[in-house]
Subunit: 688 residues, 2 copies
């Protein structure tokens, strides 16, 4: 394609999808923006290049991304993606979170209790099969069940045929359906993780901030049959690393975005969901901090959850601030008006899709009535309550036909669910009792004593009494007992006298009632009408854009670039000089204190080496651990965050100030060699 044609295509694309910004998009690998890449960066992504980056990428099934970085199955991700596993293999005596973990020999590599990695092996478009199973003349509820039934059936067939984990995923709000087939790896061993204070340097204040100075990395090795795998595809380490203005790619698994939501849905997020959820998260953070006061071991036990809450609070605060910006909602409102005006001019399309916005608005009005129940009846932060609920539902759901089950209990999901549910990772009863008591107290205060869930949960007792009774008497902390219950099925669960199970069975009725209402009255119209909006966009604009994020593999492109902030400039990268400056500037006070090994390496480190850098790549939560890849398919960086200005990307991308934040490949090697004395690991990466 000559440049003029390419430019014309870009111009057309811009006209067709009027809100697209430079470098925008979390593209599925079947539909990369080839014309834009060609014209804007002179880059042509060959099928081989795409296969290479796809097969080098892995999904961390507990929420994150990563990639193969050596021929011996080494996988690199973020420390904060590895944190759950690090916590699980730590104990009161060995705190790998605080001190780091350093396997200098293969035999020291430590098996993770419940980590599953997925590699996307193949993908097929099954849109027609799913849509043809839906009878549009039926009520919404039936259509939703038909859709789910079709998806479950395709998944089962694919798993049976290939032996691969097969997920049918919905893209473009139901505009497309694909089956994604994954190779699963479950023998994952921890190789190296730095001190958490090095990975999360600057703590909560610096989270979502740039300039930044974090060595947020962790190395795992993938084993099969007791031996390291030798992946055909892995990312070679770049010698030069990334420089300002370089074109770079990110592969990974962005969790979710809301870029195709209606304005009315965003208003619900702004006025109800986010404020309420933030209140809950803040309250829960206080709970865990209060628990931490009990002593150093209590603080250690609460640490990863506090990290999770603070991270979520900052992220949701950023999103809420973004939504409160009248310019943003104005822009989206304008886009919606234009789409609806275009529909108005095409009577056929209008007839099929034109009422979708009003129906979604109606569902939002319904949702508002019970949104506090939806959010406050959950037990965020309690592992035991989560397990108890899963077990009680599990034994009932698996008795149903596959396509009638809650989606988390479909055949295709069970193996991963079992892996998580039967994990030997420790559960701390003191923490559980404290947290459950606190949650019950909050539910009582917010939902009131007459709420069906609260009534069942308390049964006339105080929150503290209930929490003590169910936690102190339960055997659910034992993975074997959880397995036994699931294996025993409905009979075992119904006859169980374990107080936690008995308690959860009382909650089952109110839970199922609320969930049915939510799925029928909210989720079904949202999904089906959202499908119509997506289809109307297809009909008018073609497949010139990308779907919302769905924790499935995506490719984004962008460039290494600083930005202007206020009246000054933010550089494209930071160096080790800056890490030591920030520590000295705050007199080494927490959370700006240097961990021991970083402090000790002060004179050994080459301070000019780049540490972190920023790019315009379109990412979001779930992309943590994603590789940053150069034109040659080499490894140049490790995504670990977005800056605060990128949080609004949940709703709309903008590259004025929003940036993805990554650890620089040179910084990774420098830290391995000079701070952590992991020379062999560095050599395995760089092939030198």
């Amino acid at each position: 394609m000559n440049p003029k044609t390419a430019a014309a295509v870009v111009a057309a694309a811009i006209t067709l999808a009027p809100t697209a910004h430079a470098d925008e998009g979390m593209w599925t690998l079947d539909n990369i923006p080839a014309a834009q890449l060609k014209s804007r960066y002179g880059f042509e992504a060959t099928p081989e290049w795409l296969d290479h980056v796809r097969l080098s990428s892995v999904r961390f099934n507990d929420g994150g991304s990563g990639s193969f970085v050596s021929p011996d199955g080494l996988v690199l991700t973020n420390h904060h993606v590895a944190l759950g596993q690090l916590q699980k293999v730590s104990s009161e005596k060995k705190d790998f979170v605080k001190d780091g973990f350093y396997a200098r020999h293969r035999e020291d590599e430590l098996k993770c209790p419940d980590l599953e990695l997925n590699q996307l092996v193949s993908m097929d478009n099954v849109t027609e099969r799913v849509l043809s199973a839906i009878d549009r003349s039926m009520p919404d509820k039936e259509q939703n069940e038909q859709r789910k039934g079709a998806m479950a059936k395709i998944e089962k067939e694919s798993t049976d045929q290939t032996g691969l984990r097969s997920d049918v995923i919905e893209l473009y709000q139901g505009g497309e359906y694909w089956v994604y087939r994954y190779k699963k790896y479950t023998d994952i061993r921890l190789v190296m993780a730095p001190e958490q204070q090095a990975a999360f340097y600057g703590g909560d204040p610096d989270n979502f901030t740039f300039p930044r100075f974090d060595i947020d990395m962790a190395f795992f090795r993938v084993y099969e049959d007791g031996k390291p795998v030798h992946p055909k595809n892995f990312l070679k380490w770049s010698k030069a690393g990334a420089k300002e203005n370089d074109l770079v790619f990110v592969t990974g698994h962005p969790g979710s975005t809301d870029r195709l939501r209606t304005v009315r849905q965003l208003e619900y997020q702004r006025d109800y969901y986010l404020p309420t959820f933030l209140r809950i998260l803040n309250s829960r953070r206080r709970t865990f901090y209060a628990f931490s006061e009990r002593g150093p071991e209590a603080a250690r036990r609460a640490k990863d959850k506090i990290f999770g809450f603070e991270n979520a609070i900052k992220a949701y605060t950023g999103e809420l601030e973004g939504l409160k910006d009248p310019k943003l909602l104005g822009r989206l409102s304008q886009r919606e008006k234009e789409l609806r005006a275009a529909l108005d001019k095409k009577p056929d399309l209008y007839k099929s899709y034109g009422k979708a916005w009003d129906r979604i608005a109606k569902a939002q009005n319904e949702l508002i009535k019970r949104h506090e129940q939806v959010l406050y009846r959950r037990f965020f932060g309690s592992k035991l309550a989560d397990f108890a609920k899963l077990i009680v539902l599990y034994v009932a759901e698996v008795e149903k036909p596959n396509d009638k089950r809650y989606e988390e209990f479909r055949e295709s999901a069970l193996e991963s669910l079992n892996f998580r549910l039967f994990s030997p990772a420790p559960i701390y009863s003191d923490l559980e009792e404290y947290v459950i008591a606190d949650i019950l107290q909050e539910q009582l205060e917010i939902l009131g004593a007459q709420d069906a869930h609260v009534k069942a949960a308390l049964a006339g007792k105080s929150p503290k009494e209930v929490a003590h009774e169910i936690v102190s008497g339960t055997r659910l902390t034992d993975a074997a007992y959880r397995k036994e219950l699931v294996k025993g099925g409905r009979t075992a669960v119904e006859s169980a006298t374990d107080p936690m199970i008995v308690w959860m069975r009382r909650l089952e009725g109110p839970y199922r009632e609320l969930r049915k209402w939510y799925e029928d009255d909210i989720q079904a119209p949202e999904s089906l009408e959202g499908n119509k909006i997506a289809k109307s966009r297809f009909a008018l604009y073609g497949k010139s854009t990308y779907p919302d994020a769905t924790f499935t593999l995506r490719l984004s492109y962008g460039r290494v670039a600083g930005y202007e902030l206020g009246t000054t400039k933010i550089p494209a990268k930071t160096t080790f000089y800056g890490l030591y400056d920030r520590s000295a500037s705050f007199d080494d006070q927490f959370p700006f204190n240097l961990p021991p090994l970083v402090a000790a390496a002060r004179k050994k480190v080459d301070l000019t080496v780049p540490l972190n850098f920023v790019t315009t790549n379109d990412i979001i939560g779930g992309n943590s651990g994603s590789p940053v890849i150069n034109r040659d398919g080499e490894y140049v960086g490790l995504i670990f965050d977005g800056n605060i200005q990128s949080l609004v990307w949940r709703y709309a991308y903008d590259d004025m100030q929003g940036r993805a934040v990554a650890v620089h490949s040179a910084g990774i090697v420098e830290a391995l060699k000079r701070i952590y004395a992991m020379d062999a690991l560095a050599a395995e990466l760089t092939g030198r």
Copy 2:
């Protein structure tokens, strides 16, 4: 005073002056907030302490502050305060601005062409004398002349009696008048200045920014009779330097604030003055940049002016942004309403002062009609036009009685004026011609060919023709000729054929007409009615507050403190680590490049040494070069900037984020010793 009483006094002060914030105030030294200092910081400022810091402080008469820092008359100020002098002693061959200046022996110290320092020796309240000279039954215009006459008379008497420079200054918008008497020093020699790139590291982007990494210092030595003076009072160097949360003081000469202005006056600033002046400054910056393109010598000649324009643009932009914040104007509007409501309840006070706001509003309405003439008829950036105007007005004004003259030609001002006017500092004709042509073109475009000033200035020719004619033919570049003209008086000027003088005499008529209108119709009511507002505040709140800044000595207090910005934290200080980080982060690209000596010292400097720090002290332009002083009256820092959030302090102080920015005393010594090899100078400072 016991703590309880102190607290009660503070509470009362807050009630009386409802808008006071913690650490607010540019206090005159006769009225420091003793009770607040005692209760908030447990500090008692003795008369000896106050005399010590006053007599250690000096004013740089070309706009800035400084202080004596050694028993041998060493004065420390900012590089950017010294910049004008550095430029004047530089030449095409010796560029002290770029390369720095380093006198390692007394005999190398370089005499400045026209630098005058003032030390405030004594001060007396003359309010009654000035106010009793004003006949309130007369029209505003007459009252204004009576006021000016009284001030001129007091100044003359004081100068005659003491031999000291004596200025009558107006405080509280005419609420008080004081005579300030200064010892003048005019033999000032340059001792040391670093490379400008070290002093102004980060350039325009980092100006008004923190974190910051600037070695913005310059040393002078004061001579009398060819020998260094030995001041009785100088600030001893602190061994410890300033730490976070330390109480610190700043003495210096804040230029001007508008904290007592009416909302209507601020609206004029927001809607007319600042936008127009910013347009002019931006246009002039373009002019000087365009001239710089001619080559390195042209760039050198234009450099200090460009610095001045960019500095002003950023400062005024910050002020304008502050005024556009509806919260700020809302707060000030509320304060005004409360004051007026309080007046309404006291018929006596209302009768005297109640109409002031309406009269000021009327003057603002008048001002709007001619505000473009007021701003665009000036010749910002041309030294020749400035000198020509001064000479033409000078010879006419001095023929009038002292109290009838324009204030800049009163007897008391003439000596300093002569010093400036007869300076041997070079004037660059190429630059002058270029700039005057550009200004004339702008005047023609904005004011129109029919404007009286434009008509007189062009006399039918083109801007370029006029500029070439008057600059190429003038002898005003020669200080001796300027002296000769002034000495020759009106006869010499009226018979002069120098084209620049002839040209300026054509402009004199329109100038005097506009100035008369401005003084009579705008300045007089603003001043007199402002006086009433100040008096009404006095009557209601007492002298519990401080006057607007007037480029006279003030004391501010505050503490060393970081702050929160967005969702992260800004430290209270930076270190040399950060300087090298910022350079490396930007790949040493301008304006983040290290100057040669700083780059060479990379391995010698102790990177942990504090470089810059921030305090809550209430400062503004004119405070540049001010010392930061600890409780013991020792030198701990050198004010050189305010952050961008402090620019709104022109209208209202707020310590949420606004901060004064200073060079740390330890950073100064580290730079002198390890970067600039000025060990003797460092030893003179520290006394070691």
